[in-house]
C-alpha cells in the first residue's frame, strides 16, 4: 500500500524532522566546536532547512489539493494494552497551517539575522528556533492526541529555553520558570485527559476518538472532568485567563522568538483545541468554561494591554485577547470562523512584532515612554506597523475585518452578548494600537530615538514581504474559505463593526499621552490604572494563594520530616545507645547470669518464630 503513495507524501514525516535537524546542524557552532567561522553558518543552515520544510509543504499542498487528504501512521510503542502510533494527517487545513508555521518561521529567522546581529550565542538561538519550528510543524500535522500532547510539551520546553535565552538578565530569572510551570500545569492536566481517554476509549487518533464519542456513555462527572482536562493544555498555551501569568515576563526573550510565539505558537494551541472540539461535546461544562474564559481574556486582555508601558507586553496581551475570541468561536462550534480569525491574526500580529522588533533593535529600548517621533525616520517600520495594526482590527477590509464581520454575523442573533465582546475587543485593540502608534512613531523625538536609522536589510526584507502578505490576506482567505462579499453582511453588522472601529480610533487618538498627564490625579483613576497595569494583580494573587500554599506546605512537611519522622528515629537511636551504655555498666562477671539471659532470649525468639510459622 505505501508504495502507491507519491514520494513527498511518503516522506511527510520528515517535515517535523527538518526543524529538529536544524537543531543538530547548529550544535557544532552552539557548542563552540567550530569557532573560526563564527556562528553564522548555523543560522544559514537553519534557514535552509526551514525553506526545505516550506517547499516540501507546498509540494504536499499541491498533491493534496489534487488527490484529496492522506493520513499516515507509524507504529511507535506497543506494550500490553498501550498502543501508541504516530499519525499524521495531510489535509488542506493542516497543510495550510503548516505553510503558515514554516513560512512565518522562515521570515522570523531571516529577521533574526538582523535582530541578533551581534549576539554571540546566535547558533544556540537558531537551534532553539529549529526545535520550536519542528514541534509546531508536528502539532499542526499530527492526527493523534498522544503525539499532539507530546509535541505540545516540546513547545513548552522550547518556550522555556527561548525565554531563558538571556539567562543572566534579572527579569529572565523567574520568567522562564513561570512560563514553563504555567504551561506544564496545563500540559499535565491535558495528559490526565489523554490517560483517561486511553482508558475509556482505548484509541488515540482523532478520527477514532470522534467515532467513540457518541457511544462513550460517560457519566456527566467523568465527561466534565475529561473535558476540563483536555482544554487546560490549549488554555495554558494560549495564555488564557487564569493561566496567563507567564505572558508578560515571557516577553523578555529575544524578539524573533516573540514573533513566532505571538503568531504561530498560539495558533498551534488553538488548532489543538479545534481538533478536540468534537470530544468536548461530552462535556457541556468545559464548553461553558471556554466561552467564559475566552470572553474574560478578550476584554480583560485588551484592557490590560492599554495600560502597559512595555511595547512588547502591550502587544502580547492583545494576542491573548484575540485567542480568547478564537476560543469563544471554537466553543460555539464555528470552526471555519475560528480558522480565518487565527490566520488573519497570525500574519498581522507577526508583522506588528516585526515592526516593534525593528524599533527595539534600533533604539535598544522597549519602554513606550522613551520612544517617539520615529515615523519619519523608519518609513518601512512605520508602514509595517500601520498595515499590521489594520490587519489586526476591523478598520479597513483586511484579514480581521472579514473574520470579525463573520463572527458578529454568526453570533448577532443567537448570542448578542458575545458579539458585543468581539466589538469591544476590536474597539479596545484599536485604542491601544493607536496609542502605541502615537507614542512610538508620532510626537517629538526623544534622546533614544533622535538618531534612529531604518532597520537593516535582513530585518527590512522579511518585514516588507510580510507587509505585502498582510495586504493580500483577504485574497488568501477567499481561497481557503470563500468569504462572501460586503453585500452579504447585514447593514447592522457592518454598521456596528465600523462604529466600534471608528470609536476605538477616535478615543485612541484623543487620549492625552503627555507624560505629565500619564499618571491621573483622581485616586479612582489611579486605582484603575494600577489594576490594569499590573494585570489585575494576577501575579500577586498567585503569590499569596498558590505559591504561598505550596511553599508553606513544603515548609510544614519538611518540619514534620525533620522533627517528627527523623526525630523519632534519632531518639530511638539515642535510646539504644544509652541502653547499651547502661548494659555495659551492668556487667557482673557471673557466668550464670549470662547464660540465663541468653537462654531466655532464645526461648523468646523461638516462641515468636513458632507462632509465625505455625
Amino acid at each position: 500500500m505505501p508504495t502507491a503513495l507519491p514520494l513527498p507524501v511518503q516522506l511527510a514525516w520528515l517535515i517535523p524532522i527538518y526543524g529538529f535537524l536544524g537543531v543538530g546542524l547548529s550544535l557544532p557552532w552552539a557548542c563552540g566546536w567550530f569557532r573560526l567561522t563564527g556562528p553564522r553558518p548555523a543560522a544559514y543552515l537553519n534557514i535552509l532547512v526551514t525553506m526545505l520544510a516550506f517547499l516540501h509543504g507546498s509540494l504536499l499542498m499541491v498533491i493534496v489539493l489534487r488527490d484529496g487528504s492522506y493520513s499516515l501512521s507509524h507504529d511507535w510503542f506497543q506494550t500490553a494494552d498501550l498502543q501508541l502510533r504516530l499519525s499524521f494527517e495531510l489535509s488542506p487545513t493542516s497543510l495550510a497551517s503548516l505553510e503558515l508555521v514554516t513560512g512565518l518561521s522562515l521570515l522570523a529567522q531571516v529577521f533574526a539575522l538582523g535582530y541578533l546581529d551581534k549576539e554571540w550565542s546566535l547558533a544556540r538561538f537558531y537551534a532553539l528556533v529549529g526545535f520550536f519550528e519542528g514541534a509546531m510543524a508536528g502539532v499542526v500535522l499530527s492526527s493523534s492526541l498522544f503525539l499532539t500532547y507530546f509535541l505540545l510539551e516540546m513547545l513548552t520546553l522550547s518556550t522555556y529555553l527561548l525565554v531563558g535565552f538571556w539567562y543572566a538578565q534579572p527579569l529572565v530569572v523567574t520568567a522562564a520558570r513561570d512560563a514553563f510551570l504555567t504551561k506544564r500545569v496545563g500540559d499535565v492536566l491535558l495528559l490526565m485527559g489523554v490517560v483517561a481517554l486511553s482508558a475509556w476509549a482505548g484509541v488515540m487518533t482523532f478520527e477514532d476518538l470522534y467515532s467513540w464519542v457518541p457511544q462513550a456513555g460517560l457519566s456527566p462527572l467523568a465527561g466534565n472532568l475529561l473535558g476540563l482536562g483536555l482544554i487546560a493544555g490549549p488554555l495554558g498555551k494560549c495564555a488564557q485567563f487564569p493561566m496567563h501569568l507567564w505572558l508578560d515576563e515571557a516577553m523578555e526573550g529575544p524578539n524573533p522568538a516573540s514573533i513566532l510565539r505571538n503568531s504561530v505558537v498560539v495558533t498551534c494551541g488553538a488548532l489543538v483545541l479545534l481538533r478536540l472540539m468534537p470530544i468536548l461535546q461530552l462535556s457541556p461544562l468545559s464548553l461553558a468554561v471556554l466561552v467564559a474564559l475566552g470572553s474574560i481574556t478578550a476584554v480583560g486582555g485588551s484592557l490590560v494591554a492599554i495600560a502597559q508601558a512595555d511595547i512588547k507586553r502591550t502587544l502580547s496581551y492583545t494576542t491573548s485577547a484575540y485567542m480568547g475570541l478564537v476560543f469563544v468561536a471554537i466553543a460555539l462550534q464555528l470552526p471555519a470562523i475560528a480558522l480565518l480569525l487565527l490566520f488573519a491574526h497570525a500574519v498581522a500580529k507577526a508583522l506588528l512584532f516585526m515592526s516593534v522588533g525593528s524599533v527595539i533593535a534600533t533604539t535598544n529600548c522597549q519602554d513606550l515612554s522613551e520612544l517617539g517621533g520615529m515615523g519619519s525616520r523608519m518609513p518601512a517600520t512605520t508602514l509595517a506597523f500601520l498595515v499590521g495594526g489594520a490587519g489586526c482590527t476591523a478598520l479597513v477590509p483586511l484579514g480581521c475585518f472579514w473574520a470579525f464581520a463573520l463572527t458578529v454575523e454568526a453570533l448577532g442573533r443567537t448570542a448578542p452578548a458575545l458579539a458585543a465582546i468581539v466589538l469591544i475587543t476590536n474597539s479596545l485593540t484599536l485604542v491601544n494600537l493607536t496609542r502605541v502608534f502615537r507614542l512610538v512613531f508620532l510626537g517629538p523625538s526623544q534622546p533614544k530615538t533622535r538618531r534612529a536609522p531604518e532597520a537593516n536589510w535582513s530585518m527590512a526584507v522579511p518585514m516588507v514581504a510580510l507587509t505585502v502578505l498582510v495586504l493580500v490576506t483577504p485574497w488568501i482567505m477567499a481561497r481557503i474559505d470563500p468569504v462572501p462579499g460586503l453585500a452579504s453582511f447585514s447593514p447592522q453588522v457592518l454598521g456596528w463593526l465600523i462604529l466600534s472601529s471608528v470609536l476605538g480610533l477616535v478615543i485612541g487618538s484623543r487620549i492625552p499621552l503627555h507624560k505629565a498627564w500619564s499618571r491621573p490625579i483622581q485616586s479612582y483613576w489611579r486605582v484603575v490604572q494600577d489594576l490594569l497595569a499590573f494585570d489585575f494583580y494576577t501575579d500577586r494573587i498567585y503569590r499569596v494563594t498558590i505559591v504561598a500554599l505550596v511553599a508553606n506546605l513544603a515548609m510544614a512537611i519538611d518540619w514534620f520530616d525533620r522533627r517528627v519522622v527523623d526525630g523519632l528515629v534519632n531518639r530511638l537511636g539515642r535510646l539504644s545507645l544509652a541502653s547499651a551504655e547502661g548494659l555495659r555498666l551492668g556487667v557482673s562477671g557471673q557466668m550464670q547470669t549470662y547464660v540465663l539471659t541468653g537462654v531466655v532470649a532464645i526461648v523468646l525468639l523461638l516462641t515468636s518464630m513458632s507462632w509465625l510459622v505455625r
Partner: protein
Amino acid sequence: MGSATVFPWLSVSILLPIAAALLIPFIPDQGDGKTIRWYALGVALITFLVTAGAYLNGYDPSVAGLQLIERVEWVPDLGLAWSVGADGLSMPLILLTSFITALAVLAAWPVTFKPRLFYFLILAMDGGQIAVFAVQDMLLFFLSWELELLPVYLLLAIWGAKKRQYAATKFILYTAGGSVFILLAALAMGFQGGGTPSFEYTTLAAKEFGTRFQLLAYAGLLIAFGVKLPIVPLHTWLPDAHGEATAPVHMLLAGILLKMGGYALLRFNVQLLPDAHAQFAPLLVVLGVVNIIYAALTSFAQRNLKRKIAYSSISHMGFVLIGIGSFSALGTSGAMLQMVSHGLIGASLFFLVGATYDRTHTLQLDEMGGVGQKMRKMFALWTVCSLASLALPGMSGFVSELMVFVGFVTSEAYSLSFRIVMAALAAVGVILTPIYLLSMLREIFFGKENTELVSHTKLVDAEPREIYVISCLLVPIIGIGLYPRLMTDSYRASIEALVQREEASMARMIPAGRQGLIRQNPPLAWISPGLEAQRPLLVAPLLP
C-alpha cells in the same frame, strides 16, 4: 537450558569484580591511585561487557521464565546452593548495575584519598549488587544483600562529608534492621511445610502458603524493602546518606541501591506471595502517592542541593510503588521501566551535583547564583538532566510515568473513584516536580553572578570526562524515551507472566461477587449509574 558447556555469564559477572577487588592490594601504584583507577575502570568495563554478553548471547527476551541458570550445590545440608539465573525482572537491572558502576568509577577519577580501599569497595559492591539481582536462592539473596551493605557503610564513613559518621551509622542501622525481616521471612518460608528446607525461588514459588502466613511474611518484607526503596516513613536514612556521600557513591546509591528495593518487592512480595499482594496492593498505591507528594514537597523546602535531589529520588520511587500495586501488565512494566529510568536519571543528577560541588565548594543554594555565566556547558547538562527528571516527553522518565498512569487508570482491580483520586494526586506530584527542579536551576544558574562565590572559587566549565559520563547516561535516557521498546521488550514476557499470577490469585482471594474495595468488573461498568454506592477499600481487611 543451562547446560554445563555454556559460558557461566552471571557467575563470572558476580565473581570477576570481587576477585579483581581482592587483587587490588597487589597492584603497583605510586600511592596517588592513578594506576588503580585505570585498573578499576578496566574491571568495571569488562564486567559490563560480560553482562552485556549475557544479555546478547544467553538471554531470550521472549521467554518468561528463568534463563542463564547456573547451579552448584554449596551446603547441601542447609539446602543452600549457588544458584543464579536471570529473567525479565532481573536482567535489565543487572545491566543497569554494571553500566552505572562503570560510570561511577569514571566519576571517581578525582578521588585521591585511600584509592586502594575506595576502588576495592566499589568493585566489591559491583559484584554484590549483581548478585542481589542474579541469585535465585533466598538465603543467597540475604547474604548478597548484606554483602552490599558493608562497602556502602565504609564508603560513607570514610569518604563522606562532615556528618558522615552519623549518616553511615543511620544507614547501616536502618538497612540492617530491615534485613532482619528478610532473614526471618526467608527462614520461615524455607522451613514452612516441613521436609528438607529449600530456599530457592522456584521451590518457594511452588509452595502453598496459608493466607495468614503470606500476610505476615509480606508485611515483614515490605518493611525490609520499604527501607531500601524507600517508602515514606522509612526514608530518613536516604537524605542523610545521600547528603554525605561523594559523587560516585551517590550514583551507586541512587542508581542501583534504591532499585534493589523495587526489585525485591516484585520478586518476593508479588511473585512469591501473590495472595497477600492481592490484599496489600491498595496500600502500596496509597503509599506510592504519599511518597510522590510528600517527598516532592519536602524537596521543594530543601536548601541543600544534595538533599533536594535525594528527596526527588524518593518522590520518583512512588511511581514504582503505584506500578507494582496496579494489577496490570502495563503498570507493572512501567514500574520496572521507572526503576531503570530513574537509575539513569538519578545517577546523572547526582553526578552533576558532585561536579558542581567540586567547583563551588558549597551545596547551599543560597550561596550560589548566576553560575551559568561561567559554566555554560555545566548549565546545559544540568538543564537536560533536570528535564529528564521532570518527565519531559522524549525522555525515559516520561514513558515510565505514562505507563504507570495508564496502567493504573485502566486497571480493573480498583473502583473508578479510587483510580481518579489517586491518579489526580499523583498528577499533583508531577506538577510539583518541575516546581522544585526549575526553582533549583534558577537559583544555581540564572541571574546575576554571586560575587561572594566568584571571589573565592574558580568556576571552571565542565571537562570532557564529565561531559562523557553524562552523555553515556543520556544516550539510554533519550533512546528509551524515543523508542521505549528498547527496554520494555527485554522484560515484557516475564512481567506478563507475573501479572497473570497476580490476577489468578486476585480472583481466588477476592471473589467477583464481593462488593469490596478491590473489584473485578470491567472499567466501563464503573461509570454506569447505579454503582456509586461502592466505595474503594483503602486498606484491605486482613482477615476475610
